[in-house]
Symmetry: C2
């Protein structure tokens, strides 16, 4: 995951978690240095901040309370994705902004203009971000993360949420095809390839999650318990502990957005 | 928490977690025996099942797929709360039901009739349940738990969700008063009572969580960032990382249900 990403950004206390995780796994911390650390910096420990600063990592303070730290991290990704900045070591670029919210405001304005121009030219360029550890902590933070995934989805940014238990993504309106690996954990077991189990990534358990509003899922194809015209909400019923069944891809048709999680 | 509860039920794999947690904490497992273990029993380990059966704990298999295991555990609580059964060692009572869903169906019918009779007599008796570990695992299971909290709320059962990070409950329609402890963690710090920190229970961070549907919160009183006519949903904005501010109680006014979590 690390090597397949072109930019690595820690949101505030995320730097502690990256550092501590590497130490815990007895992996050299310097082999996995982030490119940036950004946030209001109320969570990053002083020793971690100094550790990364000593290695030349740019640490950016943006205090503005109305933007959560994960949004600030997304803004750094946008600056590089849209080539507003291209040099990861350009500390001077970041020094020109005030620490309240100067960089946040600049990025939102600049990216907004690029989106407007792209729309005119009918260009659709989607940024893909993988977010580690955004879910599974305090529940208000989990829900805030999901709300950010929704607003970024409207903003041409696809975010995949990953923690130690789940992988989760937003399913947009309409028909969505999801490619699934041939190498599900259970598949190995069926075929007696237990020894290769560590090569598999996805588990089989999954859920269709109406977190945004009550919805009707028109149809799914490829799940163990496929649904048809399924009215679902946290006030009625939810298809949890469902399972991936198809070997190649699954299809989800819905007139409204939902989240979809698969066990890791 | 254990001693203030009159009945202790493990939902399937919950028995593993109770057992393993006690072992991990070097506490005698036999000092905290549950009264019942119920579920489809696909998660409880054989050694744990035998361990508890050898100590006389009644282990009840109910296979029915349409009822999640946490609902089956709630049904056991209802049987005792409504005094349909009073003897915790009455194994014969449970043996009369088939293992598919006999007990689930019996309980739903019996409790439904009691609710109907109570309604006629204008009696409102609320069962209070604390659920450990229902949130914080795989996200589809977390959402299923929240959906159960909603349907049980309509069923006169108040459920408090607790895990190692959060305590979370449903806020009903209307005006809700929540008593908060004088002994917030930060309070101790302010007063220099750091050495007494372990006596505190609640943290200060909290969130107003529109998981059921987009809602408007009319007013809150007693939070660090109180809201007024606040339109909130996972598609727009969420008041996360808010904080308890009042020392005695807080007030939440909302025309629709929401969840409210406080950090532990």
């Amino acid at each position: 995951l690390w090597n397949s990403s072109s930019l690595h950004v820690c949101a505030d206390g995320g730097a502690n978690r990256l550092h501590d995780y590497l130490v815990k796994c007895s992996v050299a911390v310097d082999d996995y240095l982030p490119d940036f650390i950004i946030g209001d910096l109320d969570s990053i420990r002083d020793d971690i901040k100094i550790y990364y600063q000593n290695r030349g990592i740019i640490v950016i303070k943006q205090d503005t309370g109305w933007a959560p730290d994960i949004l600030k991290a997304i803004h750094i990704c946008e600056l590089f994705f849209h080539k507003i900045i291209t040099d990861k070591n350009d500390a001077e670029f970041f020094q020109q902004f005030d620490e309240v919210g100067g960089l946040v405001e600049f990025t939102q304005k600049a990216v907004g203009e690029i989106h407007k121009a792209n729309k005119k030219l009918k260009i659709l360029r989607k940024m893909k971000t993988v977010m580690l550890g955004g879910i599974g902590g305090r529940f208000d933070q989990t829900l805030q993360t999901i709300s950010q995934v929704y607003s970024q989805h409207l903003n041409c940014n696809d975010i995949i949420l990953v923690n130690n238990l789940d992988i989760m993504a937003l399913i947009p309106k309409g028909t969505t095809y999801i490619k699934v690996s041939n190498y599900l954990k259970d598949d190995y077991q069926f075929k007696g390839f237990n020894e290769q189990k560590e090569k598999s990534i996805l588990g089989t358990n999954c859920g269709l999650l109406p977190v945004f509003q009550p919805i009707t899922i028109e149809e799914t194809i490829g799940l163990k318990w496929d649904v048809k015209n399924y009215q679902t909400s946290c006030q009625s019923k939810i298809s949890s502990s469902n399972a991936l069944h198809a070997k190649n891809f699954i299809i989800i048709k819905s007139a409204m957005e939902l989240m979809f999680n698969v066990e890791l």
